[in-house]
Amino acid sequence: MAQKILGWKLPIALFCVLVAATLGSMGCGTQKVDTSKSIYKIGAVLSLSGPAAPLGQPEQNSLKMLESQLNAGAGVNGHKVQFIIEDDQSDPAKATAAITKLINQEGVAAIIGSSSTGATLAMVPVAESTLTTQVCCAAGTAVTKPVKKYVFRTPPTDSMAIDKVLGYLTGTLKATKIAILHDANAYGVGGATELAAKAPTKGITVVANESYGTTDTDMTPQLTKIQATPAQALVVWGTNPGPATIAKNMQQLAMKIPFIGSNGIANKTFITLAGSAANGVTFPGGNMLIPSSIPAGTPWRNAVDKFTADYKAAYGKDADTFAAHGWDAGTILTTAMKTAGTSKAQIQTAVQATKGLVGIDGTYNYSATNHDGLTAADLIMIKIVNGAWTQIK
């Protein structure tokens, strides 16, 4: 008998919990409050940790900066603005969970993010099914091709960067044979595939297409393979530190062919890492990296100068392009909400109707058929000359 009771102990315990929980929830169900009226809530899913953290951190910084600047002023239509930031740890599954939570629990009006293409694509189904506008900071072509009604992007796309690189190869270098060495991750593969596809149309043959692992520390085998080819230039598609290692390995192997990087090395870190090997490296990047490339006195130049100054003041380091992506994403949405308020449908229309909005990366024009705000014109080719960036005219 005794053990019969014991046999029921846990079940009964559990049952009590169950009942208590249900009753409890009923209780707090009555005093349900909705605070989203007074504040404009915008959710942001960024990669603050994991491999894509170098992208997510600056994006977060500029969003916080934007938030405080807006709220210091009139906010948006007198409403305070709040960016609720979630970390997806560069993991698609976490990104999906984060956006779902922001929309269902926090009741945000729109979404920013994510930083990397993979996480962004994972969020798309949720944004589309909940009719929530998503402005991402990822450059992967797949995000806006084909166009998805609720998904917009701020950074220049990889294909724009690729067009820029091809233009440089044919125009300045007059190269007809190139080698590609790319990171095996989504960014590298995406870029390399598109580059290899587009090159022939520009009369360029790809004589070698090699890859390396994101964490590899020695790429000499791939480079020796490329050395054996008649390649006149090497295009490296990847993010730090891979390209820096490659630059150093090329120096070690005394390879003289030009090193053309991707927009993934458009930051000072690359110069620090590669040291002397960085000199002569060329890559496509945003004008904001070299403010002097923007005509003085134009609203764009003023915006860039103010932004870079504020950022430096707030965080003690130079703003990179990722910071710019974050800022622009925030600006695009808050601008749209000036007219649309918090109505999801209207936000979509407002963002899609955005014309001539001056951001940091460039001037944004969206339409029903084009959800990449920028064009290849918003990119410049940059060469590293004794450790400093100089624009190639």
């Binding site: 053990q3 014991l6 046999g7 029921w8 102990k9 846990l10 079940p11 315990a13 559990l14 049952f15 919990v17 169950l18 929980a21 249900t22 409890g24 929830s25 009923m26 707090c28 169900g29 349900k32 409050v33 909705d34 605070t35 989203s36 603050l48 940790s49 997510g56 951190q57 977060q60 979630e86 970390d87 560069s90 993991d91 698609p92 599954a93 976490k94 999906t96 969970a97 779902t100 939570k101 269902n104 629990q105 926090e106 009741g107 293409t117 993979g118 694509l121 994972a122 798309v124 189904p125 099914s129 992967g140 797949a142 095996a184 991750n185 989504a186 593969v189 995406g190 595939t193």
Partner: protein, 360 residues
């Protein structure tokens, strides 16, 4: 009395508990919706669906690691095989029944488990760990490289939601019930298994392979069979994952995920039927709670408001502490707290049988 004897090791306790737990879990959404989101800052239903999907893997992995004592650091691979199988079938073949895709995912994953398990399970301990880890990495690289099939690093988009005989499970809430009913079915299966001849065989082999062999347990076959079973469970979980996410790419099937699974098993409690479940719930909600905490406490110093700085610090710390204070797993701790452990349950069952026999 023969009725009693007819059910060895079983005074129904686990089955009763399973019943209550099922009821409890199926009721969660009911009261979850009463809690305004901006109070909890956690989307319980959504997180629970993901937890349920992980649970499919972990329950199976617990049979392999906890009961049979064979470690695997590569189960993310089977998770991935399940996901890609159904994703490819349902996106390439128009109108392919999704539930069939899920089945196929589990089946293929089990089959591959058999192929690799047969040779690899001859290894022991850390060497088995290394081999399974290697298999996981190879699978990951294949997911990346077989572009034609898996869409490479971009992955597979627009995976249709799960639908069974016309019923579409396109919202988290609908999926919640499917997933958790499946999990409970798997739980029932493992409870049955572990209370049966097979379960004893596996536990025997865990305790001493030589002795188990000598007592007539075909250990080599059992190892492979339980490995296949756990692979199939993992594949099933992966398939559900694909239809839940509607988009998959290789990043969801990395080594870190395999390690997360094994961690869930150990934190929950190896070789304890409830361990897997508890481990999953704990480690799926932990990061959510850590992320939500700053919003719970108003007026937090700005240094702490940026959770991305310390979320993993905290996570790692808690992981260590759990193991230090509950080295046999949380389930075991709970068990001792409520004075209810599997072993004890079995002892009581057998004691009673002994008494019965006296009277015979």
């Amino acid at each position: 009395m023969d009725k009693q004897l007819a059910r060895p090791l079983d005074d129904g306790r686990d089955y009763r508990t399973l019943g209550i737990v099922t009821a409890f879990i199926l009721l969660i959404p009911v009261w979850a919706r009463f809690i305004p989101g901006d109070v909890l800052h956690i989307d319980i239903v959504n997180v629970m669906v993901l937890a349920g999907i992980y649970a499919c893997v972990v329950v199976g992995l617990n049979l392999l690691v906890g009961y049979a004592g064979q470690i695997s650091l590569g189960h993310a691979a089977f998770f991935g095989i399940g996901a890609y199988t159904t994703a490819i079938l349902c996106t390439r073949i128009h109108g392919f029944p999704t539930w069939l895709g899920v089945m196929a995912g589990a089946a293929l994953s089990g089959a591959i488990g058999w192929l690799v398990g047969k040779p690899v399970l001859r290894l022991k301990g850390h060497y088995l760990a290394m081999a399974t880890l290697g298999l996981g990495e190879i699978a990951f690289i294949l997911f990346q490289q077989l572009k034609g099939l898996t869409g490479g690093t971009v992955g597979i988009l627009d995976i249709p939601p799960l639908s069974i005989f016309g019923l579409k499970f396109d919202t988290d809430l609908k999926l919640y019930f499917v997933v958790w009913i499946i999990v409970m079915a798997l739980m029932l299966l493992s409870i049955n298994l572990m209370r049966s001849r097979v379960g004893r065989g596996l536990r025997a082999l865990h305790s001493s392979e030589v002795a188990a062999d000598a007592m007539g347990v075909n250990t080599s076959t059992y190892k492979v069979q339980v490995f296949v079973l756990s692979a199939a469970f993992a594949g099933l979980g992966g398939a559900l994952f694909a239809h839940f996410q509607k988009y998959i790419n290789p990043e969801s099937f990395v080594l870190a995920v395999s390690i997360m699974f094994i961690t869930m098993v150990v934190v929950g409690g190896m070789g304890n039927i409830w361990g897997g479940l508890i481990g999953v719930l704990l480690l799926t909600f932990l990061p959510q709670v850590i992320q939500a905490m700053p919003q719970w406490i108003p007026g937090l110093p700005s240094a702490l408001q940026n959770f991305s700085n310390y979320e993993l610090v905290l996570y790692g710390l808690l992981l260590i502490l759990f193991m230090m204070f509950l080295p046999k797993g949380v389930a075991d701790g709970l068990g001792r707290a409520t004075d209810f452990t599997e072993v004890r349950a079995r002892r009581l069952g057998d004691r009673r049988r002994a008494k019965k026999l006296e009277g015979r």
